[in-house]
């Protein structure tokens, strides 16, 4: 890491990047899928990874820009993925569907939300830290 130590922001970015990849696998079990969600997850993971790699290469603020993209893409994942599930959620809450139909989505969504929260915290901290 150029002029930098491994920071908490770096670790959290790594965690949220891994979570994004985990989400992609979890999403395979979701009944109500959209291909856009996969695309966004891949881009989110790439953005996270880019932030981590660039932190080694460049340091300073540029890697943090990728961190921002990483977090926003994760939010987009949540937004895109929820649309096709709304109908089934309504039916489950009405007692007409069994939870089975949205269980996989809920698991996925929990992981996606955690990934986003972690990325937000990471964005406050930054993926790099200037030496004192």
């Amino acid at each position: 890491m150029k002029n930098n130590k491994i920071t908490l922001g770096f670790v959290l970015t790594a965690v949220s990047t891994v979570l994004a990849i985990v989400c992609a696998f979890l999403y395979k079990s979701v009944v109500q899928q959209t291909s856009t969600t996969y695309t966004l997850l891949i881009f989110a993971a790439i953005a996270g990874a880019a932030a981590l790699i660039l932190a080694f290469v460049l340091g300073k603020e540029i890697p943090n820009l990728f961190l921002i993209a990483h977090a926003v893409l994760l939010m987009a994942v949540i937004g895109v993925s929820i649309a096709p599930v709304v109908n089934d959620m309504g039916l489950v809450f009405a007692g007409l569907y069994q939870m089975d139909i949205i269980n996989a989505y809920i698991t996925f969504a929990i992981f996606a939300c955690i990934a986003w929260l972690v990325s937000v915290v990471a964005s406050f901290l930054g993926v790099t830290k200037k030496e004192a």
Binding site: K60, E61, G95, D100, I101, F124, K130
Partner: protein, 1035 residues
């Protein structure tokens, strides 16, 4: 420190950007559900504006009423009348009618306090109690009719001691009295521990209550629930309160105890009232001399018990006839052997129960032998000693070999009266290719006035081992006016010889195509009777020259050979009713798909065959392909269709008006003007319209089409979609004569109040049914809701389908005739009637995607015949397809069914729409469109289709390249627009009307949130970037 500040700015930018993204998606999701949100909030996203240039009032369909109150009163009165004529008297030893002045009545049965008025889901009875609207129980109605009731037992039933036994289905998080089924839309079957009969045990009754019942007439109330998305399980169960029963349709232990208590604590008169649309097992009540009378009330809606009370008290003479066979054992029909859950035997993971919903199937091995067509045909063969009819196979209630009298309690079409009628079949004209009719003289030979139903049945000659034929089939009916004692009336029953024909899948016509409607050479018999059994006995007496070996199952049955006429046909006819007809459903016959499996169907040639449940079907590769929905695909082909022109034509221009602006109809469908109109529509508009064409149809601005509304029925617009008469109106429409503003006293009254379809069917009265259609049309005019999903026209294949309450009957011809009447009535008011569910929606268990295998003859002569009349005659303007598959192809995407039969054979010109989409890929819009299926009831079909997101440029490019797809799309759109132009949705639209997009407050709010979060995001990002750059410079 500065680094920390930068981090804060960065974090803030991330949070705001995320919120901005979230708000964008929230707005997008809200837009998708805007119809529902608008309905819930009472808002609208569109309004119509007039420039004032037109002098027309734009009212093309007018109400016959001046006020909404008149509409409501007319519906209440008709509901009462339908129940008066739909209540069926099964048994009466003189206890009925009650004498209101002298008979004190004890109501026995906790369920009488909270009866089942309609379905829990589907045909749900809804009223707005807060607004003063109410439901009427039999208890209320009897009191209103002046009957003195024993209050002691009612007091006990009303006490908290009874609370534990009351039926209360949990639904939408609330307990619903009068119901006990638990609907589930996911793969399901009613489970053993979830069903309550709702009657307390004998020790619940106090001595005081029993003593008070002595010397009163006992009225025992028996009830069974009905619901969409649920079926009864065929098994012995114990309900949660300790009651038990051998089968759900049999009397439970507590019900039997109830009846014994009633018998022991009465004046000797015990009247049983059946509140059920599923046929119960009541043979023991019929045979019990201590039971004085049995009355079937069905599920009569909010006000129908008034009609039942009118029958019980003799205010009206019963004239209803049951529309289903009451069998001794509710599982004895061959259809019941293959009803329920059957799973394909395929390698693990090969079939997907999620998106494909391709794991399950049913095989309708009964073929044409549904309901009475089984019992009566087997009866004839038993009498004639042919086809092993008297053998052991299919024996459920008989001792030894099969015996009609043991198996059937009340035959299809049976019903008694307080008077007696003599019917004389005077003549029958049977004209192949022409009009046929029977003339019947009816005389009231009793002492009180009453109406009589003339039921005309036919028997076509059966050739042993040849095409399957029912020994008797209803071909027409008529109802007399009220005949005074001694009075006579001659009625004519018109019928169509094409409905006497049988479908022969192997027949080859002159043009070389295979499959035809045939009329074999031989003797045809036409007979009348009080039900199918009496009519068949008349035929047999005529055939055999004696009634010696014939079986009667009711004491008032009369066997009269003269009430059967024989007409001989010299030569076999395979052409008259076969123009344009050929096999279309061969891929639905499991025997043809998997001949090596050797699945046997029920056949007259040998009644011992076809009784085995068919488990573990292993699908072939071809079947798997369809179960995986690989039916159609988008390709690049042909020259592009013309879209997005600006020739100035608008939908209003297709209406034909006279010089005074009076509505004369519309431009004919085959007129090229429609193509000119359609050229104005853009491809995007067409896609957006069709993908959601079914709920609230999206407007098409390029041709001036406003929002068209469609809602569920069929007992009236459902209250969760049209919560009030005022909900669909906007202020801009307040000038219309049927506008209902929020201040109208009856604005919030609810509409689904009418009796369920089996009750309507039991009237055998087309005038009443047409009138009901007209009043649905009035509801349409006064609520600004233009299309109703109804009537339900599936046949009652199996008793245990708990959705039978949404369909008329086990008989497709009764369904056919009533369907025509209902749709004609609605059409006369411009209401788009949309029969459902086309076709073969015969069970709710795993209904989504169930591969339904059936012979083409079976499909055409049973299920499809029920739909044929109103669709072929274009009395219905829409038709909703079914959830299930036909064979392995989704019914809503089966080209043979939708294009081959519906469009090409029947000439149907209305629109087609899918049923509610539940996120499953098998109901995808690509296949629906290619098959000629039309629009999607909910947008999920589009979203779940492989075409995918309509906003994706890539996917639109696929559609843009596929001209064949576009042609289908345009044709479907033409049907939709043609139908709209012929409906009351054009009311209020004139040549100067413009559809204007408006933003209801919730849209504005979301938009504001978008802008605010967007602006803050930009500001935060700018702040962060500037800070970051400034920091860099300092460094």
């Amino acid at each position: 420190m500065k680094s920390k500040k930068l981090g804060l700015k960065r974090g803030l930018a991330v949070i705001l950007a995320s919120l901005f993204v979230l708000s964008l998606f929230a707005a997008s999701v809200a837009q998708t559900w805007s119809g529902k949100i608008n309905a819930f909030l009472g808002t609208s996203s569109y309004k119509t504006e007039k420039s004032g240039e037109s002098t027309s009032d734009g009212i093309y369909f007018e109400s016959e009423f001046k006020t909404l109150k008149e509409v409501i009163d007319a519906k209440e009165a008709l509901a009462r009348e339908i129940s008066q004529e739909g209540t069926v008297l099964f048994k009466n030893d003189g206890a009925l009618p009650l004498n209101a002045s002298s008979d004190k009545v004890t109501i026995w049965g906790l369920n009488a306090l909270a009866p089942t008025f309609g379905g829990l889901i589907g045909s749900t009875t809804s009223v707005n109690y807060e607004a003063g609207q109410t439901t009427v129980t039999l208890i209320d109605a009897l009191k209103d009719n002046g009957v003195a009731l024993n209050e002691d037992l009612l007091e006990l039933y009303n006490s908290s001691d009874a609370d534990a036994y009351r039926r209360k289905a949990a639904f939408f998080g609330q307990e619903v009295p009068g119901h006990s089924l638990i609907p589930v839309f996911w793969p399901m079957f009613e489970t053993a521990d979830s069903y309550m009969i709702g009657e307390p045990p004998a020790d619940f009754y106090t001595q005081k209550a029993l003593d008070a019942a002595k010397d009163t007439t006992a009225l025992v109330f028996l009830s069974r629930d009905s619901s969409e998305a649920s079926d009864y399980a065929v098994s012995t169960m114990k309900d949660p309160n300790g009651d038990s029963f051998e089968r759900p349709m049999a009397l439970s232990d507590n019900e039997k105890a109830l009846i014994e208590l009633a018998k022991a604590n009465s004046n000797g008169k015990v009247v049983v009232v059946i509140n059920s649309d599923v046929t119960m097992e009541i043979g023991e009540l019929k045979n019990d001399p201590a039971i004085s009378a049995i009355v079937w009330a069905g599920l009569p809606g909010a006000y129908g018990f008034r009609g039942v009370a009118d029958v019980l008290t003799g205010a009206v003479n019963p004239s209803g006839h049951i529309a289903d066979t009451y069998a001794a054992n509710s599982t004895s029909a061959p259809a019941m052997q293959n009803f329920g859950l059957f799973f394909f035997d395929a390698p693990e993971g090969e079939l997907d129960p999620g998106n494909d919903k391709g794991n399950w199937y049913i095989i309708e091995t009964e073929g044409i032998y549904v309901g009475y067509k089984y019992y009566e045909t087997r009866y004839e063969d038993a009498v004639l000693g042919q086809g092993n009819a008297a053998g052991d196979a299919g024996v459920f209630a008989s001792k030894g070999g099969w015996d009609y009298a043991s198996e059937v309690v009340y035959p299809f079409g049976y019903g008694k009266s307080y008077t007696t009628f003599e019917q004389e079949l005077q003549s029958v004209d049977f004209n192949i290719g022409g009009e046929s009719k029977a003339v019947v003289k009816v005389t009231n030979t009793g002492s009180v006035p009453g109406k009589s139903v003339v039921q005309l049945y036919a028997q076509a000659p059966y050739i042993q081992g040849g095409v399957e034929k029912s020994a008797i089939q209803l071909v027409g009916f008529a109802k007399t006016s009220t005949l005074d004692a001694g009075a006579s009336e001659t009625v004519t029953v018109d019928f169509d010889a094409k409905y006497v024909a049988s479908y022969d899948e192997d027949a080859v016509k002159a043009d070389g195509t295979q499959g035809a409607w045939i009329l074999d050479a031989g003797d045809y018999y036409f007979a009348i009777g009080n039900g199918a059994h009496e009519a068949l006995n008349n035929v047999l007496a005529n055939k055999l020259g004696s009634d010696e070996n014939l079986v009667k199952v009711n004491d008032d049955e009369v066997i009269n050979a003269d009430n059967s006429k024989k007409i001989s046909v010299g030569a076999k006819d395979i052409e008259t009713y076969s123009e344009g007809v050929q096999n279309q459903l061969q891929d639905g016959d499991i025997r043809k798909l998997l001949p090596e499996r050797g699945v046997e169907f029920i056949t007259r040639a040998d009644w011992s065959k076809g009784w085995a449940p068919v488990w573990g079907i292993s699908p072939s590769d071809e079947m798997l392909k369809n179960l995986h929905n690989q039916v159609f695909e988008l390709t690049e082909n042909g020259e592009g269709e013309t879209w997005g022109q600006s020739n100035g034509m608008r939908l209003i221009d297709m209406l034909l008006l006279d010089d005074d602006g009076n509505y004369l109809g519309t431009v004919a469908l085959d007129d090229p003007l429609w193509d000119t109109l359609l050229e104005n529509v853009t491809l995007e508009e067409a896609v957006n319209f069709m993908k959601g064409a079914g709920g609230n149809f999206e407007p098409i601005n390029s041709i001036g089409l406003h929002v068209v509304t469609a809602y569920d029925g069929p007992v009236g617009f459902v209250s969760d979609q049209v919560p009030s008469y005022t909900a669909n109106w906007t202020e801009s429409e307040s000038g219309e004569p049927t506008y209902v503003g929020p201040n109208d006293e009856y604005a919030t009254w609810q509409m689904p109040t009418m009796p369920t379809e089996p009750v309507v069917a039991a009237t055998f009265n087309t005038e009443l049914v047409e009138r009901e259609g007209e009043l649905f049309g009035e509801d349409s005019l006064w609520s600004n809701a233009c299309s109703i999903f109804g009537p339900g026209l599936n046949n009652h294949r199996a008793t245990y389908c708990s959705r039978n309450h949404e369909y008329y009957s086990e008989d497709s011809m009764l369904t056919n005739i009533l369907g025509v009447a209902a749709c004609k009535g609605g059409q006369s008011k411009g209401l788009m009637m949309e029969p459902k569910h086309f076709a073969l929606n015969h069970q709710e268990a795993n209904r989504s995607g169930t591969a339904t295998f059936i012979s083409e003859q079976g499909a055409r002569e049973t299920e499809l015949r029920g739909f044929q009349g109103c669709l072929e005659g274009n009395y219905a303007q829409g038709v909703m397809t079914a959830f299930n598959r036909l064979g392995c192809v989704y019914a809503g995407a089966h080209r043979g069914l939708l294009t081959g039969i519906l469009r090409d054979e029947w000439g149907y010109t209305g629109y087609v729409v899918t049923d509610m989409i539940n996120g499953a890929e098998y109901m995808n819009w690509r296949d629906v469109t290619f098959a000629g299926g039309g629009g999607c009831l909910t947008e999920n079909a589009y979203e779940s289709s492989i075409i995918g997101d309509p906003n994706s440029a890539d996917n639109m490019k696929l559609i843009e390249k596929d001209t064949a797809f576009q042609k289908e799309l345009k044709q479907m759109l033409k049907y939709d627009l043609y139908t709209f132009a012929n409906s009351n949705t054009m009311n209020g639209v004139t040549s100067d009307t413009r559809v204007v997009r408006v933003h209801p407050w919730w849209e504005t709010t979301l938009l504001a949130v978008n802008w605010v979060t967007g602006a803050l995001t930009v500001a935060a990002c700018a702040w962060y970037v500037v800070s970051a750059l400034g920091k860099k410079e300092k460094q």
